[in-house]
Every structure is written in structure tokens, then in C-alpha cells.
Symmetry: C2
Subunit: 344 residues, 2 copies
């Protein structure tokens, strides 16, 4: 039975993540995670005519490389689950057109990576499919002009604003292990609820998403009867520098130990850029956590340097028109527990 608790499902068959690919943009190649990407773009346009087509091509590169590294043929992949920030999931839909793999579009704003990972793991764990590819992407230029201002406008950003990462991350989930020394498995997952803290500024997305991240994390720990120190590392998606500090405060308020938090908690949006990179409150976008999980986290787990990771992509579910209708920003966060296991 996969039903662990109120919000948490377990994966009794322990689906394997057998390959992954992490692609960054130029700015990301200059940040602290530079050595963890599999590749980075030299410029924002990636040889395409538009930024949207460039983002779609990034996802296609990541999917193609993940399939190649898995050793599986395209016809062995039962489904592909992917999403992005663009209206109607343009990056994912147009990527899927070229892949001829059964496709399911996912949307959870910046929470899309763990949403896709959860549903992909369910398909494999439940034996509905032997191999499923999952992924997510974002691009600074496509997101900025869709959600905020034309780039040419050169508008100023407040210190709490975040920088949408130009990045993509993909993983192949499989029912069968590889011949490598260490397996990375999907152990359990907590599906998040939509929580709205009443914040209305799209320049304060970290703050808007944090209550949802706290709720999902606390529910995960309660459902699994675990303490925070069960995990070597706990990462949120993209709360950024501002949201990360709010998250720590709220977790302490909820009774979690400060030392336990400080030793293992961090945020992809705060990890992907240096403050000197003029990104204000750090990174955001589906690709931020997607590339960090598919790069930094996955590679560290394959090396055995991380044994238990709780990864939580966080999403701000505002729309391009909801702020104009006076709406605040609903937040969501999904958590996935990954474990690395030496074969020995």
C-alpha cells in the first residue's frame, strides 16, 4: 500500500532514477553551482529565433541526453511528464512534438519538477510504465516578458524580487536498476495543498510560497514520523535569499530545532547565484530547482555524498492576469524523499 499518511505516499517498489541531465544558462554558469551542471548555454538564444524556442530546445536537449544516458530507446519510454512557466506550457508542448513519447503536461509553476517527479514515480512504482521521463524548464527572458515587463524596458527591480533561472532539469525514472555502484531511489512523496498567505506583490514570491513550503514539510515529517535530522539535506525550490530566512524562522516557530535546520536546510534559489550577480533575492523558475535536483543533488547522491535528501519544489500560482484582478498569490510545494543506496 502506497498510502503513508494524510498527504504522503510511499513507493513500495522504490523506483530508480537511472539518469538525469542538468542544463544551465550563461548567468547560471557563473554561479556557485557551475560545476554541477552537465552543460551551460553560451548565450540566451541558443541558436534559435526566439527565447521561447530556445527554452523549448533546452528541454529537448535535456530530455534527449537523459534518454541517451539511460541506455533506453525512445520506444521503451512509456510516458514523459513535463512543464514550464510559459502560457500553455509552450516549451514542453513543442518539445514533446519532436519526441514521439506519450506526453502528460504538468503545471505547478515553480513546483513543477517535484510534481512531475511524483507522478512519474507513481507510474513506474505502480508498474504502469517501466520507464518515465520527467522534467521542467524556465528561461529568464521568456518569464520576464510574460510575467513582468518587456526586457527592452529595462525596468528596475526591488531587492525582494527574484531572478528567473535559465535552466532545465530532467530525470529518467525506471523500474530496473543500472549496473552502477550506487542507486538513487524515490522513497516517498508529499503532495502539497494550495496555501495563500495574502501577499499580492509578484516581487515577493519567496514570501508568498514559504507558508506552503512550511505546511508541506511539517506534514511530510508528521506523516512519515520523522525528524528533520532524518535527512542529510532538505532543499526548497526557489524561496530565494529572503524566503529562505523566513522559512527558517517559521520552522523554528513550529518547534523544529535551529541547529538541525541550519545544518541541512537550504534553498535552490539561494544556491544557484552569488549575491554579487545582481540577482537581488536569488533565483526562481521551474528550471531553478529542476537543474539543481538533476545536477547537484543527483550527482552528490550517485557519489554517496548525500544519502537521504528531501527535495521540495515550490510554486507561486499567480497568473498573468490575477494580480490585475486584485488577487493575492497562492503558493504550493511538493516534497520528494530520495535515497542513495550502495549495491555492495
Amino acid at each position: 500500500m502506497g498510502n503513508l499518511g494524510k498527504q504522503t505516499i510511499s513507493f513500495p517498489n522504490k523506483p530508480y532514477i537511472i539518469s538525469a541531465y542538468s542544463l544551465g544558462g550563461k548567468k547560471e554558469s557563473e554561479g556557485p553551482l557551475r560545476d554541477w551542471f552537465d552543460d551551460c548555454l553560451r548565450d540566451d538564444i541558443y541558436g534559435e529565433a526566439t527565447w521561447e524556442k530556445a527554452e523549448s530546445k533546452m528541454l529537448k536537449t535535456a530530455v534527449t541526453e537523459t534518454v541517451r544516458r539511460s541506455g533506453k530507446g525512445l520506444d521503451e519510454v512509456g510516458a514523459m511528464l513535463s512543464g514550464d512557466l510559459l502560457n500553455q506550457l509552450m516549451s514542453s508542448s513543442f518539445m514533446a512534438r519532436d519526441m514521439r513519447i506519450p506526453f502528460l503536461g504538468m503545471y505547478g509553476a515553480c513546483s513543477t519538477m517535484t510534481e512531475s517527479l511524483i507522478m512519474g514515480s507513481v507510474l513506474v512504482d505502480g508498474r504502469y510504465s517501466n520507464n518515465v521521463i520527467i522534467g521542467a524548464s524556465s528561461h529568464y527572458c521568456t518569464a520576464e516578458r510574460q510575467f513582468r515587463m518587456p526586457l527592452e524596458h529595462g525596468n528596475q527591480r526591488p531587492p525582494s524580487a527574484q531572478w528567473t533561472a535559465t535552466a532545465a532539469g530532467t530525470m529518467m525514472i525506471s523500474s530496473e536498476s543500472t549496473n552502477e555502484d550506487i542507486d538513487v531511489i524515490v522513497e516517498s512523496a508529499t503532495i502539497g495543498k494550495v496555501i495563500d498567505a495574502g501577499i499580492k506583490s509578484a516581487n515577493k514570491m519567496g514570501s508568498a510560497m514559504t507558508p506552503a513550503a512550511v505546511d508541506t514539510l511539517l506534514n511530510h515529517l508528521e506523516d512519515t514520523n520523522r525528524n528533520l535530522d532524518y535527512y542529510d539535506i532538505v532543499l526548497t525550490g526557489d524561496l530565494g535569499f529572503t524566503g529562505r530566512e523566513i522559512m527558517k524562522d517559521l520552522l523554528q516557530d513550529a518547534g523544529l530545532d535551529k541547529k538541525a535546520i541550519d545544518e541541512r536546510y537550504d534553498d535552490c534559489g539561494a544556491m544557484i547565484y552569488k549575491p554579487e550577480q545582481d540577482v537581488h533575492s536569488g533565483g526562481s523558475g521551474c528550471g531553478c530547482s529542476a537543474s539543481t535536483f538533476a545536477g547537484y543533488v543527483y550527482k552528490k547522491m550517485k557519489r554517496g555524498e548525500i544519502k537521504r535528501a528531501l527535495i521540495m519544489s515550490t510554486g507561486a500560482l499567480l497568473s498573468t492576469i490575477s494580480p490585475f484582478q486584485g488577487e493575492s498569490i497562492p503558493g504550493i510545494a511538493h516534497a520528494v524523499s530520495l535515497q542513495s543506496r550502495p549495491k555492495n
Copy 2:
């Protein structure tokens, strides 16, 4: 094992659809399916300040009624999977904010209803959740102004254009049956591939989606080793009057029997309006197939008037900007096999 064939998964535990709700708009209440809706709006605004909020409220009404009819408490619902046509799934996201149920956003344009139904059935069949609610919605006024022109513009539409239905449909999928005489179960499903026939006009969406619908249907029949006459009824989502005729032609070209097609195949977009309603090529929108499946199909199955139904929502995966970048319209279709079973 749930893996039936290349693209088709079966549900060995036969999840039950234990309740459903179908909500139409005013125009839909004047069409041929009027008696199959559970309720219809008196006007487009539904007591809200904007059409977007009206659409979100429609989905909330449908979800709330489906939960009530199921006899389950909100805290017994493990997950809610929903989507719509609005950028960032505004209708679904803002509905989910009020429901406090773990939420997963789905996007497959007008294919969203069967996408949600497939993933919801996987969660229940695999015993990851005992009760899952799924749904989709659309609204003529929100879709028209997002995808085409401001309504106030009063622009003319070519004969091949479709009318986005103002409608919502929701279902509760459960691992346990009810005490009613006839069960409706989810038997198998085929996840569709993205197929692009090169059509570039958003006024020819039926034609753009038809090749994907043909591909999914033929793959479903091949994977399940069935003929078309296995089903009492085969319904596509919203190819409309134009697309329905193209579908019939293409199926005949593929070798299917004309009589078998004519006797059981129809399209929700061609069923939901009368040609005299000035809807040109018929209905479209996530809500078109969602409300037809949750109303007409579900109720007929509960009465035993349909025993085996293959329902296929079809999606046109264009974005609000892809046509301006010279892109054609990728199509997708997902098929779900439903069966009604008398308890004896």
C-alpha cells in the same frame, strides 16, 4: 501489472467513479445536452466580478458537489487533479486555494479531462490514494479574450471556428464502490503522443487535433486487441462538426468499418450545441468534454444504457504566442475506457 501495450495502461483494481457533476453555461443550457447537466448558469458572470473568477467558481461548485455526492469528507480526499485553459491554470489554482486538498495542476489544453482522469485513476488503482477528485473547466469569455480578441471587439469568426464551452465537469474516483446498483469503473487508458499536422490557424483547431485523436484511437485498439465495436460509444473531445467528419474519413482510411464508425462514434463538440446556435463548427474547451463525460456519459452508464465507453478528450497545444512565432498547432488526445457493471 498495469502495462498493457506500448501506450496503454490497464487498471487491475478497477477504480470506481463514485460521483460526478456536470455544470453548463447559459448557451449550453439551450443545446441538445441540456437535460444531462446537473445545473446550468443563468448568465456568464455567475455573481463574480470577472469572468475568470466566474470560471473558477464553476469549478469550485462542481468539485464541492462531487465531494458531497460521494459521501466522503474533504479530509478523505487524497488529491485533486484539475486544469483549465487559462494561463497558469488560474481557474484551477484559485479553486484549489479554497479546498485544502493536496493539489496537482494538469495541462493538456482541451485534453485535460482525460489526462486528469488517467492520472487520478493511476493514484487510486495503485493504492496511493483512496479517493481522488479530478476535473476541468472552460469559459467562453475567458478563453476568447485570452486566445483571440477582446469580446467587445465583436470580431467575425470563420465557419471552421469553434465556440469555447462555458462548462465544468468533475468526478470522484474511489477504491471502494458505493451501494448503488450499477458501478462505473475505469478499465484502461491510452496516453497520447503530441502530433502536429502543420495546421497554423487557431480557427481550424478541430482539424489540427484530429490526427492525434486518430493516432491515439488506433493505438488503443491495437494495444487492447479490440475492434471499434467492442465499445457502445466512442467520443472525441471537441473536434467539432468539421473535425468529426475528418475523423470519420481518416478512420475509414485506416481500415475501420464505416458502419461501425457511424453507429458509435460522435464528438462532444458536435453534441453540445445545435448548428442553429451560431457556434459555427461546434464546441471546444476543456469544459466541453469534461461536462459531457461527467454528465451525459456518466449518467447513461449509471443507468446501464451505455456499458462500454471510450472517451477521448482532445487538445490543441498552441500557446497565446506560438502563432505569432510562425508555429503550427500540435495536437494531443488521451483515451479512457469506462465500463458500467451491474452489481448483479
